[in-house]
Symmetry: C2
Subunit: 212 residues, 2 copies
């Protein structure tokens, strides 16, 4: 009794949320308005007000969707057992690589990240703040499963590299070059990983001052 109906609240609501995602992925948040959503979902905008209470409501509802957030497992890229068996260096590199791939698969998420940095006192606050927080916590947790640390600045180092990754991924998504690098090319990212590798090698060297 709920499949082929002409009028179906659930389906319509789902269409609206899908529309939000499509717009974010294809055009960014700048295009994300009531009228645009209604047009994309092929729905009267009055329904958006009735079902979600307005623009803010529908975006909040979209935020509840888990389709736009990578899972911990996806970021790990392997079983928890395999992961903790890696060296700290390899763990960081793995997270870096997988997190980037996860974002690449979710242009809408990248759009929201970019949005967050540009609209001051707005909807995104509740939308992403806690998610980012939990995401960072997950990373921290994954790293701290080991007793091994690099320095008392481990948290800041994680944040530095996370910030760099986010920035470069956004620019990749926006086709906005940075430091003359072609972020569309896999070779560029290979080199970036090489830089990462070098950084971590250096950090490890700090703990083994004598080469074996």
């Amino acid at each position: 009794m709920s499949e082929k109906q002409v009028k179906n609240k659930e389906q319509t609501m789902a269409r609206i949320l899908v529309a939000v995602e499509e717009i974010l992925a294809e055009e960014g948040f700048g295009a994300l308005g009531i009228n645009r959503i209604a047009k994309q979902a092929d729905v009267g905008k009055a329904l958006i007000y009735r079902y979600f209470g307005g623009l803010e409501g529908v975006i909040d509802a979209y935020g509840e969707t888990d389709s736009f957030w990578p899972t911990v497992h996806e970021i790990r890229g392997m079983s928890k057992g395999d992961f903790v068996a890696l060296s700290l260096k390899d763990r960081c590199k793995t997270i870096f690589r997988n997190f980037r791939r996860a974002l690449k698969k979710r242009p809408h998420t990248v759009a929201i990240y970019a949005w967050e940095m540009v609209e001051k006192n707005d909807i995104t606050k509740n939308l992403i703040a806690n998610r980012t927080q939990t995401s960072i916590n997950v990373v921290q947790e994954m790293l701290s499963e080991s007793k091994q640390v690099y320095s008392k600045y481990d948290h800041e180092m994680t944040a530095l590299l996370g910030a760099a990754l986010l920035q470069l991924t956004i620019r990749e998504h926006m086709k906005s070059p940075f430091a003359g690098m072609d972020l569309d090319s896999e070779k560029t990212w290979d080199r970036i990983e090489g830089a990462l590798d070098t950084i971590f090698s250096g950090l490890e060297a700090l703990h083994k001052p004598q080469t074996s």
Copy 2:
């Protein structure tokens, strides 16, 4: 004959450009429209079209202003002689610190950076792309004044740290937290510099495997 005139093209044009800067600094690019600029400058918007040819034109003209871009000397923070006398590590740290301070003094520049990451095919392209490029080149040049290198990934490492700095500065400006850090606090930035210091120490350790 050009000071106390009631009608003065130059002064009016200057007022318009100042208005652009004020809006960018206080409200970000989202508020940057013809009407808003005209209101801020207390000028009929027709003048913006007459003098600059429209929104794109006035923004381009603003881009020519040097009030929104840090000078090389400001980034160096000292004379060129003193600078090249520093170790590579200290040079990088100095650039990082001064570049952040320079951006902090120029919220409008940060706003443009953020804008660039969010508006896809737009005005900012010509506005910032080349400036960023030259800025990066300056950094590269400053670093490469020495024969010393860390690895074959020096360029990528510079880019990584630059991207991180940009991302964190934008979030500082937008009061958008990152990784649970309070970017408003100087202590946080001191810790970030500590992390930087650790990273560079590690890189140096790669070249002197024996501690003295």
